[in-house]
Symmetry: C2
Subunit: 373 residues, 2 copies
């Protein structure tokens, strides 16, 4: 069997304030074209369909439209799960009806144990979940981490394995050893949200979502598809596309790249060059552009003048201050741990450090917050 | 054919801050029981399934659960439309799949012309829409009011009439001559949002939603089902329930009342009486209670003391100030026209009146706002 593996669409996402909906419409229609060219028998979407638990109306409209087109008009089976950016409850509306036409959208942990058999493959769906969902499902208070939970989930899946069939897992997690890029906004506490790659060994293929870089993991039987679109400057050099997975005999993987409507580009130039037609006609001005400005002087009304030529400017940095700024940026990134952020905020406001008790309370509260939907 | 007609569920609505979700779960399960007792062949829901365009997660969960139960488990056909409180786009997610099991949920004006034929009846679905949707659909800029739009819609429906069948319209509008109660929050400008009852003449039955009082309209071939639950003090004396509609021969209508989990009640008493077990044991303290207090003195910590006995107090008024307060309340209600409200706010803030231009601009802006989703 041959299927297409994609994930992390984040429909409705904005890039530095720019609405990406047309860029997303473009790449999603490319995915359909690839699916048809490659004559796949199904499309697998490994979570984060939407960027937010309550997506905007135009995001909902785009998803509704395309899924009707793919599944009802083109009659392509769709196997999808919710990711950490999706609201599992909101996304679950109507799902019991979808299976009439081989559109399986799974959003609840309990559904992980209802594999779908299709062309000699058992597909297992493991939507994103928090440890508390596993504690409730297994009635086991000892489950504290995603790692423990996933181990238990996969054990239970193995009991359902039909040995005459191949086994595919569709899942949305951070697998240990993978490299994170910049646009996965879900905050993490201490690495407990990651799972060791060995846990995935029982499967012939694991279609992962969560990380936006398709190269983030190279494990024999597991891949991230990555996002089909660049969502941050840090992804500027990443290949974007989808996997064509062939399980007819041995696992065969083929990455199909997708051209974006507008790419992300970095430009280093002086203000004078940037305004020079000879310069800007040589580049694609419609791209999302990050500018490193080589000037050292103050330029009045700079942004407005540049925006008239470059309609999608992501940001402007002084090239000579670049090393400095990159360092600052890295520091901000390191601070993404919410506990550290809150502590830094506290000491900046009060010029005091948290007491041991306050620190404990903060940690527990953050844990609770992250376990809530 | 025999079907049940309900509307205006407003799942997720709050009553003076009290969460009604358990009250709603209760009446909705009563509706299913009535449907089974009456052996109806379908359930018609005439709009306002939810109270808000973005309902809370527990509201979505309740609707998901019950509709799976009614349609997939009990196998009851469901014919539903969106109302003015629903987001047509959000609600439309998945609708193309629902018809596999005779669950028709229509949210777009264009779908008004795709009748569903069922047991010798043509069901027409007219979800709530704004005049701008009709202007776009008919490509006719002369359509300014709902009245004009609905006339055009019904003309077009009549062209689709199969003369060998009966015709039912499911719709969500204010029909002229009906009496409004207090909990339909949709604001109105100058009565242009209402349609004359004669327009509905072509149909054997019109299942209406929008007004919460089932007695709001008594037209031979048209009824509001009303909300299945009281949503405001002004509905205190209204009968709540659903219509059983029989079109086997002539139209036969039977209103089935539904007991709420907690009723709304008014009590006139002194503070001393209210705290007296002999008094409060004689009434259902679990009800939503509005208190008219006969005392004239100041009572410290009154609300807290009363809440310990009456957990669902909607409000407390001094009985001796009652005439006064009712008058004030009526004045507030009259002010519900947003233009008048904005004008009053302006003159209160600036002690000036709007100029003719400002007034015009305000009117146009309000019109635009109301036409947006």
């Amino acid at each position: 069997m041959r299927f297409l593996h994609t994930a992390d669409w984040h429909i409705g996402k904005k890039l530095q304030g720019y609405d990406l909906i047309e860029d997303q419409r473009h790449v999603l229609s490319s995915i359909l074209n690839i699916a048809k060219e490659e004559k796949v028998e199904a499309i697998v979407i490994a979570g984060d369909l939407y960027d937010r638990s309550v997506p905007a109306v135009d995001a909902v409209a785009l998803y509704n439209e395309l899924i009707v087109d793919w599944n009802l008009k083109e009659r392509i089976p769709i196997f999808a799960i919710s990711g950490n950016h999706d609201s599992s409850t909101r996304l679950s509306a109507g799902t019991p009806w979808f299976s009439y036409s081989n559109y399986f959208l799974r959003t609840q942990l309990a559904e992980a144990f209802e594999p779908v058999e299709f062309n000699n493959i058992q597909f297992f769906f493991l939507p994103y979940f928090e440890p508390i969902a596993a504690r409730l499902y297994f009635e086991d208070d000892s489950i504290r981490t995603i790692q423990q939970a996933v181990a238990k989930v996969i054990d239970k899946m193995e009991e359902l394995f039909d040995s005459g069939k191949k086994h595919v897992l569709i899942s949305h997690f951070f697998v240990m050893g993978s490299v994170k890029s910049d646009s996965e906004t879900k905050i993490e506490v201490g690495g407990l949200d990651s799972i060791p790659g060995e846990l995935l060994a029982p499967f012939d293929y694991v279609a992962l979502g969560h990380l936006h870089n398709q190269a983030a993991l190279r494990q024999d039987n597991a891949r991230y598809s990555g996002s089909p679109l660049k969502f941050s400057l840090s992804e500027i050099n990443q290949k974007k596309g989808v996997w064509i997975v062939d399980l007819a005999t041995d696992l065969e993987l083929n990455f199909r790249e997708i051209e974006p409507l507008h790419d992300i580009e970095e430009i280093t130039a002086s203000f004078k060059e940037l305004l020079d037609p000879a310069f800007y006609q040589s580049i694609n001005r419609e791209n999302y552009i990050h500018i490193y400005l080589t000037d050292r002087t103050i330029i009045p009304n700079m942004m407005n003048q540049l925006r008239q030529i470059y309609p999608r400017i992501l940001g402007i940095e002084r090239a000579n201050g670049r090393a400095e700024q990159t360092k600052r940026k890295r520091k901000v990134l390191e601070m993404k741990d919410p506990q550290k952020l809150a502590e830094a905020f506290f000491s900046e406001m009060t010029e005091e450090q948290l007491t041991a008790n306050q620190e404990k309370w903060l940690g527990e509260t953050l844990q609770e917050i992250m376990e809530m939907e």
